[in-house]
Symmetry: C3
């Protein structure tokens, strides 16, 4: 693997999922692979799970880890040709090349503006690193994608599925803040690549980018969508068509035990209790959100392993 | 040792103190004990000594260390059943379980509000981690306790005492800000467990929680209390009865060489010079505050060692 | 080497430069030298290159690294005899002694006020650490000096020079913010110690401290200075005589390809594009700024190596 900026960088989905499950059984099996190799993690935004699980994954492989909260440095400039006479101190061209010399792999977290749709779609921060860095880039959630989360989700479904082709439903949920579409986008793409019956349900106006949903069935009736589901992934996102807007906070879309029935409950976390999903669901044995979070370590570790192997 | 949230978690006080002193002589003697083990340190509040000494201690034992300033993530919710529609993003139930999967031990620093006495007394943050985490918790100073400091203090007294049962005095000191009672509380409890003659002196109104001081003699006359002392621990705390209030900033309570005479001067640091204690005391050979701070490493290291040994 | 607070701590300039170049060829050759040794890096100010390259250098030598953004702790007091009743919480006397017990080497970054010339000249923060710490101090850029940068610059010139005694020009550049003289000062001192023809060019009023420039030729005509240059180091600094003031933002002083001709372009980074220097220069093969930044690792590593060797 040459980089992991989106799930299209995966060569074989069944293989990477199985290898991640094997790593989980023996996390230190490749602890010498990362000797003399350094992961630099760059955060433009807040992180808890992603930060800790990715650091853990790299250390399980014997890598050195260096972390920079970009706010501890200064504002970076991303525009070509700009006269940097204002509030940006260093151009991404220099920053990415320089950091590449201190790292063997760079991982980047950079959220969208949710204001400028075209700019967010261009993945200007992530792709500037891809363009100017001279080492492989890992996406720790970008403007429109969260491929490490999607890989952890696929591992979790593989571990828990009881039928060859389970039914999986992505169900939009209410939320007080405008959130990115990144988690939903990457989950949708991942479900299109693994052997599941996949449906999306949300209120009208919350259609995700059609270039991502493609022919995945979209139902506006949540109950109809949830019928017979094996896995239900609740997640809020802000509107894509009315970009970044909150159109609806209808608590009828909150996930409940009544709706969930016997399905496994999935969420990427952090989750707002009794807004996105009830306490009863999260505290039940049907909730697999903690297991999903654990699989973040092994999603990151298999990605780091495959990139490290490609370096030699 | 299963956890170290307060000094009651110590099984044998003489033994842990002696073992810490032995570790100090050979800090790397157990450097393989922590192989493949990870300490996650979570800071809700500022730290200098605690952060550096605890990280050092873990690395002396060969552990991996991951540090999260909680402010680099987001606000956590601690109330059960709350509808998380406002400014908290993740519930401690998820956070503690998730972080437990990335760590073998979690250390937490979370100061009191000094506003809500009952809530602070409940140790809501620390105890939420104890309740929801699935790995051992170490207290790096909580609302009402600072047991790593108290252990370092006991080590220091053991190293320096010239009589079998030295006289130790905890002497309240003035301070411009309202400070927690945590250091004083844990020091009092520690002195009750080791072989010392122990007295507390403070102005009226500064009585600590009587459930902690128990039958420890309290004197309102500082000079009388200091008479013949071998060790004097100066420390400010805000009022417990008029909770979190500053009742008094009387500089007559500042520690001076005249009052100290030949006693050793102790303080947990940071200390405000010429407010809590004079320059002359801190710069004299009677001050043992630097040695106390050094013993923070070995207090943390013996605690980590005992918890690690219990994991196997 | 006992410390590295300024370039005068270097015993032999040709030797340290050659040894750094050898380290670069085999960065892990001394990876056991730092076993059981800890570098603590203290940041009073923002950092990107310095932080990552110094951490990398220490880890290449097998050291443990602990990093403290001083803002994550509290304000330190530096005045002797002060009554600490206001906004400082801990005196440098305690802080430096305490941190020394957790570290084998302490590295400090502390920028100038650019307001109080005498205080900045006294290097009050850096020198307080030198005075009160009990372990060697490394300067990661102080009020008036940036000796790790100057060493990386000297390494870069040595690697790239095509004549025995190349012509090197330090050329002042415009900038929207008042910047320290530290980089320029240390570069000037370094050039005085290595075998180069060295000139400084800047507008009148931008004379650096004459105790540093000594008899280095200063030209106010940039074109005249650049004539026949092999290396041109562009850098802004604020006025030394009218201390910390911006006297001039004349874009005629910006470095361009026309002025540079075939000379190598140097800058310490971060650099403001199209203000200090044009895109065309930075994007050309004459720019060596990325190589300079890479050499920061080996400048730090050779300094750490020499200090570690002196510890035994």
């Amino acid at each position: 693997m040459k980089k992991y900026t989106n799930i299209d960088d995966i060569e074989s989905f069944p293989e990477i999922i199985q290898e991640a499950i094997q790593l989980k059984e023996n996390p230190f099996a490749y602890e010498h692979l990362g000797t003399h190799k350094t992961l630099i993690m760059l955060f433009f935004n807040a992180s808890l799970r992603t930060r800790l699980s990715t650091e853990k994954a790299a250390k399980n492989l014997g890598m050195q880890v260096m972390i920079l909260n970009v706010n501890d440095a200064w504002n970076l400039e991303f525009e070509d040709g700009s006269i940097m006479n204002f509030n940006t101190t260093e151009h991404i061209k220099e920053a990415a090349q320089v950091i590449s010399q201190y790292a063997d792999i760079i991982a980047v977290r950079a959220f969208p503006s949710l204001v400028d749709k075209e700019k967010d779609a261009s993945e200007w921060i992530l792709n500037s690193f891809v363009k100017h860095a001279t080492v492989p880039i890992i996406n720790m959630e970008s403007a429109t994608m969260h491929p490490l989360q999607a890989l952890a989700d696929a591992i979790t479904i593989e571990e828990l599925k009881k039928t060859k082709k389970p039914k999986v439903v992505l169900s939009w949920a209410p939320h007080p803040k405008a959130l990115p579409q990144a988690v939903a986008n990457s989950f949708v793409k991942m479900m299109q690549h693994i052997d599941v019956d996949f449906y999306i349900t949300h209120p009208k106006g919350y259609e995700l980018n059609p270039a991502i949903t493609l022919d995945t069935p979209i139902l506006y009736d949540q109950n109809e969508a949830l019928e017979g589901a094996d896995f239900v992934y609740a997640k809020n996102w802000s509107s894509y068509s009315e970009y970044g807007k909150i159109l609806n906070q209808d608590s009828n879309w909150m996930m409940t035990q009544e709706k969930l029935k016997t399905a496994k409950f999935m969420h990427c976390l952090p989750v707002r209790r009794n807004v996105v999903v009830t306490d009863a669901v999260l505290d039940s044995s049907n909730s697999v959100v903690i297991q999903q979070a654990n699989n973040r370590t092994f999603a990151a570790q298999i990605v780091l392993k495959k990139i490290l192997e490609n370096l030699y």
